[in-house]
C-alpha cells in the first residue's frame, strides 16, 4: 500500500515538476538528503517521543515511507520502467528525461532507508540472510549511484558507462529478492495483508520483466511491442489475482489467517475467534474488557503446523529499546505444558493484539479441542459480563510471556511494510 502511494506521488512529482527536476535538480537532491536524515533520526529515537502529539505522529508516519523503503522502491521502479516503455510513447517521454535525477533521488533515499532500518540489525549484531542481501543491494547500488551524476558521467566513455549501468538489472532483481526476503516469511505464516503485498510486488516486478523483454524483442515494431506489453501486464495481473484468491481461500479453509483486527482503540485482545462472535467481540458499548485467559483461533488440530520462524532465544529481562515497528510478529516460548506460539500485532508502535497460533502439543495436558473451546468460552463470558479488567496475572503463563517476548524482539527490528 505504501508502495502504491509512493509511486503515485512520484508520478505526480514528475508530471508537475519534471522540467524543474531535469534542469535544476540540486534543490530536490538537497530535499532528499534532508528527508533521509530526518527518517534516520526518527528511527533512532525512542518511540514514545512521538505519542505526544498528532503533528509528531504525522511526521513519523510520513517519514516511514522513506525509512521503510516504499519511496525508494517506487523511485527505482519508475526508473526501470522508463527504460521499458515504448520509445517515444508519452510515458517514455515523461520519464526518460528525468531518469538520472530520479535514480539519484532514489539512491539518496536508499541510503537513508538502509541506515534507518539497518542500524537496529547492526546494533544487535543480527546478521540474518535478509541483512546480508540488503548489504549486497547497497553495494551494487553504489557504482550505479555514483555514475548517475552528470559530472561523473561526462568523464566516462559512453560505452563503458552504458555497460556499467547494465548493473541496474541486477540491482532491480536484487531489490525484488530483498523485498521478498522480508515479506515472504510473514506471508507464509498466513498473516493477512502480507500475501497481498507479495502478489503486488510480484505484479510490479514480473510485469517489468515482460515489458523490458518485449521492448528488446520488438525493437522496431512499436505497435507490436505495446500490444505485447499490455497483454503480458494484464496476464500477470490476472495470475496474481488468481493466486491471491487461491491463497486467501486456502487460509480461510485452514483458518490459518488472522484478521488485522481493526481495533479502533480497543484494548489488546488475546485472540478473537475468526468467525464466531461476529459482532459480539466489538459490540460491548465500547468498553472492551481485558482478557484473563487466552483463546485460540481455530479448531485446527494441526495447529502445530503453522510455519514458525524457528524457536527464538528467550531472555528473562525485557528489551531495553522497545521501539516496535508496526506489523505482526511471531514468537515461541516454552509453556507449562509445552511449546506455545503467538502472533503479536503492533499498531502505532504498540501491542494491539496477541494471538496464540501454536499450542502445546502434549495431549496429556492440553486438549486442543476441549481446552481451546474452553478458552473461547471464557473470552465470551468475560465480554458478556461487562468486565473492565481481570485481576490475577493475565499473561503470567511463562510460555506465553516468553513467546510474546520473542515476538517483540522481532518487532524491534522488523522491516516495516
Amino acid at each position: 500500500m505504501k508502495f502504491l502511494i509512493s509511486f503515485c506521488l512520484i508520478v505526480l512529482l514528475v508530471q508537475i515538476c519534471g522540467d524543474r527536476l531535469r534542469k535544476k535538480p540540486l534543490p530536490y537532491y538537497v530535499g532528499a538528503v534532508i528527508l533521509a536524515a530526518a527518517a534516520i533520526t526518527v528511527q533512532l529515537m525512542p518511540g514514545d517521543i512521538f505519542s505526544g502529539s498528532i503533528a509528531l505522529k504525522t511526521v513519523k508516519a510520513v517519514l516511514s515511507y522513506i525509512s521503510g523503503g516504499a519511496m525508494v522502491g517506487a523511485l527505482f521502479t519508475l526508473v526501470m520502467f522508463a527504460g521499458a516503455f515504448v520509445q517515444g510513447s508519452t510515458l517514455a517521454k515523461k520519464s526518460m528525461p528525468v531518469r538520472a535525477q530520479l535514480s539519484i533521488l532514489g539512491g539518496i533515499l536508499a541510503i537513508g532507508h538502509g541506515i534507518a532500518l539497518g542500524q537496529s540489525f547492526i546494533k544487535r549484531l543480527n546478521f540474518t540472510v535478509e541483512f546480508v542481501i540488503s548489504l549486497l543491494l547497497l553495494l551494487v547500488m553504489v557504482p550505479l549511484f555514483v555514475t548517475s551524476f552528470t559530472v561523473i558521467r561526462k568523464k566516462m566513455n559512453p560505452k563503458s558507462w552504458k555497460k556499467l549501468q547494465r548493473l541496474a538489472y541486477l540491482f532491480y532483481l536484487l531489490t525484488f529478492i530483498h523485498i521478498l526476503a522480508f515479506e515472504m516469511p510473514k506471508a507464509l505464516r498466513g498473516v493477512k495483508g502480507y500475501a497481498l503485498n507479495v502478489f503486488a510486488y510480484f505484479v510490479v516486478f514480473v510485469s517489468y520483466l515482460f515489458c523490458r523483454i518485449f521492448r528488446s524483442v520488438y525493437k522496431n515494431a512499436k505497435e507490436k511491442m505495446l500490444r505485447a506489453q499490455v497483454i503480458s501486464v494484464v496476464a500477470v495481473l490476472l495470475i496474481a489475482a488468481a493466486g491471491s484468491f487461491a491463497v486467501a481461500a486456502n487460509n480461510a479453509r485452514n483458518n490459518k489467517s488472522e484478521d488485522y483486527v481493526d481495533n479502533s482503540g480497543n484494548l489488546p485482545e488475546v485472540i478473537v475467534d475468526n468467525e464466531a462472535d461476529g459482532g459480539n467481540s466489538h459490540g460491548n458499548d465500547g468498553e472492551y474488557p481485558e482478557v484473563a485467559g487466552a483463546r485460540r483461533t481455530s479448531e485446527n488440530e494441526d495447529a502445530g503446523e503453522i510455519l514458525a520462524s524457528g524457536p527464538k532465544e528467550v531472555e528473562v529481562e525485557s528489551s531495553e529499546s522497545y521501539h516496535y515497528i508496526d506489523g505482526t510478529y511471531y514468537g515461541e516460548g516454552m509453556g507449562n505444558n509445552g511449546k506455545i506460539g503467538v502472533n503479536v500485532t503492533i499498531q502505532s508502535g504498540m501491542i494491539s493484539a496477541i494471538e496464540i497460533v501454536k499450542f502445546p502439543d502434549d495431549a496429556d495436558y492440553f486438549d486442543v479441542e476441549k481446552d481451546g473451546s474452553k478458552m473461547t468460552q471464557q473470552m465470551i463470558a468475560i465480554q458478556n459480563a461487562e468486565v473492565d479488567t481481570v485481576s490475577g496475572a493475565t499473561y503470567s503463563s511463562e510460555g506465553l510471556i516468553d513467546a510474546v517476548s520473542a515476538a517483540l524482539k522481532e518487532a524491534e527490528s522488523g522491516a516495516s511494510e
Binding site: 502511494i5 508520478v11 514514545d48 505519542s51 482503540g265 502505532s348 481481570v390 496475572a393 493475565t394
Partner: protein, 403 residues
C-alpha cells in the same frame, strides 16, 4: 488494433493527474482502515480533543501492561510519561538486568540506593516484618533453584534447599537512610546484605509502580483511569460514566468455564490477586508453583489457592497478596484482624469527627481480601462483601464473610 499516440497524448496529462490523485486517496483511505495512520486509540469513539479513553500497552517487567486514561489530548502525553516511568523503574530494580541498582547490590553485597528503590526496599522490609517473614525479599536464590526465573523447572533436593535457606532472612538486610535533603540525585540509602544473600523486589515492584502511576495521573487531573500491570489492577476514580470499575478476579480453578471467580466493584484502589495457578510446573504428578514459603523453601501449601487484596496502597496489596498466600487461611485472617479490621468498620471512621494521624495511618493500612481455599471455600472481608459477586459459574460456592 491500432493505437494513436496523438489522441492519447492530448488527454494523458489530465488523466494521469486525476488517476493518480484518485488512486492516492483510495490508497490512503484503505490504509487508514489497516491502522497505518492510526492516531490515539479510542474506546468510546470520539473526535480528537474530546475526552476519550486513551490506551497504552507495553511489555515490561516480564509481562504485558495495560493502561487506560480518560481525558483529552494531554492524556497521550501522560501515557507516554507513564511508559517511561515504568521503564525507569524496571531499569533500577530488575534483578536480571546487571545494570540495575538491585543487581549491583546483589553482586557487591552493598550498594547505594536512590530514592525510589530505597523507599520500595524500606516498605517491603516492613511487610516482611509484619508478616513474620511470610514475605521475604531474600528468597530469590531459592526461586532460582526451582527454575522459576529461567523456565528450566526442576525440584531441588532437600539438602540444596536447606543450604540456600541459610541465606534467606530479610532481617539481615540493613538499610541505612541518608540524611534527607530532598535531592533526587543523591543516594537515599545505603543497603548492605551478607555474602550469599540475594535480594529481589519483584514481589512488590508492580504494586509500587501502579501506586506511583495512579498518583501521577491524579496529580495531573485525571479522574478516571484503569491500570493493569500483568494482572495487578489499580484504578483511579470511577469509570467515565460515574459507575465503579468492574474488576473480575481470575478463577484459580483449572477447569473454570468463564475464567472468572467473581467481580468486585472498585473505585480509587488497587486489586491484586496471587495464586499458584499463575506460574507452576508439574513433575511426577505433583504441582509446584512459584509462591515459595520462606520457612520451608518449597511452594507454599497452606490451604490457599488464591488471595486477592483490595486496598488504597498498591505496594501493600502486592506484598500481602504473596505473604497471606504463604500464611494460609488462618494466618491471613489473623493478620487481617490485627492490621486491618480495626479501621475497616466504615461507620466508626465516618462518625469519628476527631480523625487524628493515627487513624489516618490505620486507614491507609486497612485492606480487604478474598481468599479461596483448596477446598473451594471463599472467604471475604465485610468491606468487600457488599461489592463482590460470584460469577454464575461459582454461584454455589460457600462464601464466608469474615466478621
Amino acid at each position: 488494433m491500432s493505437f494513436s499516440f496523438k489522441r492519447i497524448r492530448r488527454n494523458i496529462k489530465h488523466k494521469t493527474m486525476a488517476g493518480m490523485a484518485l488512486i492516492l486517496s483510495v490508497a490512503i483511505l484503505s490504509g487508514c482502515g489497516k491502522g497505518s495512520f492510526q492516531f490515539p486509540k479510542v474506546v468510546d469513539g470520539g473526535a480528537v480533543g474530546e475526552e476519550i479513553m486513551h490506551v497504552s500497552t507495553i511489555f515490561a517487567m516480564d509481562t504485558v501492561m495495560d493502561i487506560q486514561v480518560y481525558g483529552g489530548e494531554e492524556a497521550e502525553g501522560l501515557l507516554a510519561d507513564a511508559d517511561n516511568q515504568i521503564r525507569t523503574l524496571e531499569k533500577e530494580l530488575s534483578v536480571t538486568d546487571e545494570n540495575s541498582e538491585i543487581a549491583g547490590l546483589n553482586a557487591a553485597g552493598s550498594a547505594e540506593l536512590s530514592k525510589e528503590p530505597a523507599q520500595i526496599m524500606k516498605e517491603a522490609l516492613m511487610y516482611c516484618d509484619s508478616t513474620d517473614g511470610a514475605l521475604d525479599i531474600t528468597i530469590y536464590p531459592v526461586l532460582r533453584a526451582w527454575g522459576f526465573t529461567t523456565g528450566e523447572y526442576q525440584v531441588p533436593g532437600d539438602e540444596e534447599i536447606a543450604g540456600l535457606l541459610e541465606n534467606v532472612d530479610y532481617r539481615s538486610v540493613k538499610l541505612e537512610e541518608a540524611d534527607a535533603d530532598g535531592s533526587d540525585d543523591q543516594a537515599a540509602a545505603l543497603c548492605t546484605i551478607p555474602e550469599g544473600m540475594q535480594v529481589d523486589l519483584g514481589s512488590v515492584t508492580k504494586g509500587y509502580t501502579s501506586r506511583k502511576l495512579a498518583q501521577y495521573f491524579r496529580d495531573n487531573g485525571v479522574t478516571s483511569a484503569l491500570i493493569n500491570l500483568g494482572g495487578n489492577v489499580e484504578c483511579v476514580g470511577n469509570k467515565p460514566n460515574g459507575s465503579k470499575w468492574n474488576v473480575a478476579v481470575k478463577s484459580p480453578f483449572k477447569d473454570s468455564d468463564s475464567g472468572i471467580l467473581g467481580v468486585i466493584q472498585a473505585s480509587d484502589e488497587a486489586i491484586i490477586t496471587s495464586g499458584g495457578y499463575e506460574r507452576y510446573f508439574e513433575e511426577n504428578g505433583e504441582t509446584y508453583w512459584h509462591i515459595i514459603d520462606p520457612s520451608t523453601g518449597k511452594p507454599a501449601r497452606n490451604g490457599l489457592i488464591s488471595v486477592t487484596i483490595i486496598g488504597k496502597d498498591g505496594l501493600m496489596c502486592d506484598a500481602l497478596s504473596t505473604a497471606l498466600f504463604v500464611k494460609g487461611r488462618d494466618g491471613a485472617i489473623d493478620y487481617y484482624r490485627k492490621y486491618s479490621a480495626a479501621s475497616t468498620d466504615s461507620s466508626s471512621v465516618a462518625n469519628d469527627k476527631t480523625a487524628n494521624a493515627a487513624d489516618a495511618a490505620k486507614q491507609e493500612s486497612s485492606f480487604d481480601m478474598i481468599l479461596v481455599t483448596t477446598e473451594g471455600d471463599v472467604y471475604i472481608t465485610p468491606g468487600a462483601s457488599e461489592r463482590f459477586s460470584l460469577s454464575s459459574e461459582y454461584h454455589d460456592l460457600s462464601l464466608h464473610v469474615l466478621d
